[in-house]
Symmetry: C2
Subunit: 361 residues, 2 copies
């Protein structure tokens, strides 16, 4: 499938066995290529990719794994390495790994010599359905997630579903949070299918996986094509819908210093909180909010926030989120399952109730 | 005048007294604004700008002055400061200063929360005719100038020609190098006018200054509108013409670690070397190359490279320049005064002769 962005359009290939398939890498032929990956992914898949690409281990930078690595300092490390290697402006950077590697390497590709081509090879469900598509790149900051970054579209995304077989159950669940989010925000039939087929996804049924990933990518591609830089309506346009669950989630991730919660886990909780708030506002039925919590829970995701977090923490951290406009917190909330809106126009008491409810011991 | 870039079009105002004129800042009304400047400029102009903008000194970050400050570390410092101030995504960053401040603050605006608005208030001739127009932002690296950066267009450029009265003669001369470059690469009548009017420019005649700056901005705006990201023809399109003199110049700046040569001084020498090479290739007459050297020299710019630099140094540093494509150094060379071409297709022996000639004691 294709992400339609005029001269920045790019293909997404989804399916088993793509990593070792030379045809996946057509774009890279006769180009100078460097690969950034992490230790976990390198141990599992690097050999296969290097062989298919005809590269040596010298042409790869292997970083430690984990969200704590998505830093300004590591961006400098990657850039130093690219400069030492003298990768030219028409070279290509390949991001082999999950969302952390994709966001970090993508940001480096965005700013190396003011922007070079890059290719995403996402190896987690979260990266395959979400972070590798749409061009958002960046690093975290002590004051918030993704506070520094760039919009930089990849030249191609290669999503080999076989890589999900090595994914720890916890990371698979984290990816499912973004899948559930897609259904919730804009694809009610997908949400219903997830309620029906969740066990097959958890069992990594190949066909269900490929169909689900494709459906999520298609939704995301439509939204990104409509609002590439999240710039429509002062940042409250179509693309902002993809932040469903994220403002609550980012607060949790920042509170726990990116050390204990996975991004998808925080988003899963954020979906529950957004649904809870939407129900308190009487925008959706309580039963629908309960369906959200039930599906998030069945996916193996936490539905309660971390120990010790208070409404004050949430308020402070949410106020620092990028989604603040003119001093009011803007949230993505639900009008129905399959229909989300971006708004700062809601009763703040309802938000207080949601925070109090979720922060109660 | 307007830089025509569709939805990214922006105005350039040029003239005396603009800094203190509230009308200059229309765009900034009712926006949250932060200002980045340097110590030299702050001492001269900050009060005036803060008053016109209605800001307090707390809303300004004052950095040390100089090209050595254009670093990844200082970008982090600016970003930390913006995050601590919680500048929202719809805030505006103002760059008040020369090219270093404009490039550094512009880069920070490009990556802060994936891009916020910024306004350039260039206070040097070089920044007014060149670096503030066109959207190139970035920082230097030990391995080369501007190796890390982004394309990010300002919302407006405000060029107050009165600020040039405080400019040291050496910096005025450095700016004239870019003015001469404009004439050389695409405006033969401007080059002829410079030969005639150079003394008036050096005497800061107000009318001559404004006309000359406007003419340079107009040329640059036309080129940028045709090739915003220097992406046409694999980086050898119209925008690359603006690099006339820069590949030689960057080598000199890197060799001297940005410590002794001003950018414009290096470009002035680079213009002489590009003209010398063009004459050796018999693309221009020797007399025309001599006119270039004469004008550069009259402007008060060096026409010999720094002590100790060798052809080997030049070759190594030029190979690292961004303008390398497929292993061959691409240069901007002259076909006539007022007509430049971007090419890797020239006799390498002629380049050797130019390097030997310029590196001879």
């Amino acid at each position: 499938m294709l992400v339609e962005l005029q001269e920045r359009a790019y293909p997404i290939r989804i399916g088993p066995g793509l990593l070792a398939d030379g045809a996946s890498y057509k774009l890279l032929r006769s180009r100078l290529v460097r690969v950034v990956t992490d230790q976990n992914v390198a141990a599992l898949y690097l050999e296969r990719v290097l062989e298919a690409l005809g590269l040596t281990p010298n042409e790869v930078l292997v970083l430690p794994a984990g969200e704590t690595q998505k830093t300004w300092a590591n961006a400098e490390r990657v850039l130093d390495w690219l400069l030492a290697a003298r990768l030219p402006r028409d070279g290509v950077l390949v991001a082999l790994g999950g969302g952390v590697i994709g966001d970090l390497a993508g940001f480096c590709a965005a700013v190396y010599q003011r922007g070079i081509d890059f290719v995403q090879i996402p190896t987690t469900l979260l990266a395959q359905v979400d972070s590798s598509v749409g061009g958002k790149t960046g690093v975290n900051h002590a004051r918030g997630k993704n506070m520094i970054g760039a919009f930089h579209q990849p030249q191609a995304v290669i999503a080999d579903t076989d890589t999900l077989r090595s994914l720890p159950a916890r990371e698979l669940a984290a990816g499912l949070a973004e899948v559930i989010k897609c259904g919730l925000l804009g694809d009610a039939p997908l949400f219903a299918r997830l309620e029906r087929d969740l066990d097959r996804l958890l069992a990594l049924d190949a066909e269900t996986l490929a169909e689900t990933i494709e459906r999520c990518c298609a939704l995301k591609a439509r939204i990104v094509a409509a609002d590439e830089r999240e710039s429509l309506h002062g940042g409250a346009g179509p693309r902002a819908l993809l932040n469903l669950g994220h403002t609550f989630g980012h607060a949790v991730e920042t509170y726990t210093r990116y050390e204990t919660w996975l991004h998808g886990e925080a988003v899963g909780l954020g979906l529950c909180m957004a649904a809870d708030l939407s129900a308190r506002l009487r925008w959706i039925a309580e039963e629908d909010a309960a369906r959200v919590v039930a599906l998030v829970q069945r996916a193996g995701l936490p539905v309660r926030p971390p120990q010790g977090i208070t409404p004050d923490h949430f308020r402070g951290l949410m106020a620092q989120d990028k989604k603040v406009a003119g001093g009011r917190v803007r949230l993505v909330l639900l009008r129905a399952i399959g229909e989300a809106v971006v708004t700062a126009d809601f009763d703040p008491d309802a938000l207080e109730q949601t925070l109090a409810h979720y922060c109660a011991a």
